[in-house]
Subunit: 207 residues, 2 copies
DNA sequence: CTATGTGAAGAACTTCACAGCT
DNA sequence: AGCTGTGAAGTTCTTCACATAG
């Protein structure tokens, strides 16, 4: 097939495929069909095959997909072969919860710096990191050798300012939990996780 | 216009419009153009006008939209005129963080029950609620007069079981934070918030 | 003249259905 | 015979561009 740009929607599904494949691998399964895999991630076989076809041809007709091979290919596509360095800004309630989440490190995301602006929190140890003053964000990030992804868990009122600081410190990807729409230059990737929005969407469907 | 079904994508944007409109209202602004509103929520004017056109015709040509009226209409569409009752299952790290989040109550989402299975946590007071045993989920939910939305913040391994319990207790909408794809009957609405997935999507774009 | 509302065109995504390998 | 890979068809969403109203 002529290789085309991978659709956004496909990219969003790849992590789900990967997660289930890793589960299968742990159980010792070696082969899986598009039907079974699709079923477990809540999609259909045609969709799954189309998604995978954007990455290449990894299946065996009449048989199915090799679990280990698929894991390798999806990981490669998602850029999960290297370790990404993360900074979290905002050590209120959500920040420490994310810091304590074991899942990240397992998947190759390493938190290397945490920030807050509250003097009572600065210098405090959390996990195995010490909270830095957000005022020194750029210097601290330089000292740890740069950060790939910035997670914003501050109040909405300061989120844009923090985003600007992160970008100024060379961060190229931002995951924002603050309930505000951020503006970033086109060379920076932004994802928004918005709890109130999620609840409001549920509310719509309940109505 | 003949009123058609509102697209999913429009529904996902309405909360963003609403949030910015509320900010404007607080500042005392009464009129806003599609251009300015679109700019602040990261979309374009045509998109915004099309989105709003699904709800009705609220603008004034040559002038713009009345802020208060738009707030009223979007709130109505999203079903935000009543208070929704929420239960959180899983009082590990994320659960308490969500419980402490002030944003929910402000927007009409009231947390009325919290659950865990750890005996050390059951009976403990958190916020102004007491942690109930997840084993009694159905009875507790009945006692508080029913719950509209269930939030799952348990480990992935028990998330499906918890989802089933919630559904059995009459919950019709679920917001799942556990890193696993849940299966629910078609009369139940499910939204997934998946932190690892978000990071992996960012990773893709960094690669 | 300004800004909305909206058919129509265009782009993106999903599903179909079957050819192509094993 | 069984399951993948994929053009083509179908659907949904976005953008255009202009008629319409104030």
């Amino acid at each position: 097939m002529k290789r085309k740009r991978i659709p956004q929607t496909t990219i969003a599904r790849l992590p789900l495929y990967l997660r289930y494949l890793l589960k299968l691998a742990r159980k010792g399964l070696r082969i899986i069909s598009s039907y079974e895999l699709a079923e477990h991630v809540g999609t259909n076989a045609a969709q799954l095959r189309k998604d995978l076809s954007y990455l290449g041809e990894f299946g065996t007709r009449g048989v199915g997909y090799d679990v280990a091979e698929l894991i390798r290919q999806i990981s490669k596509c998602l850029g999960l072969t290297k370790e990404w360095k993360i900074a979290i800004v905002g050590m209120g309630k959500l920040g420490p919860a994310l810091l304590g989440y074991k899942g990240f490190e397992q998947e190759g995301f390493k938190i290397v710096a945490i920030f807050d602006k509250n003097p009572k929190k600065i210098g405090k140890k959390m996990g195995n990191l010490v909270v830095s003053d957000v005022t020194n964000l750029k210097e601290v990030i330089e000292k740890v050798g740069g950060v790939d992804i910035g997670i914003i868990t501050t109040p909405a009122s300061v989120a844009q300012k923090v985003a600007n600081q992160l970008i100024d410190a060379g961060v190229r990807a931002i995951l924002n939990f603050a309930p505000v729409t951020l503006g970033v230059p086109s060379n920076v990737v932004l994802r928004q996780v918005d709890l109130t929005t999620e609840l409001q969407i549920l509310s719509f469907h309940l109505t």
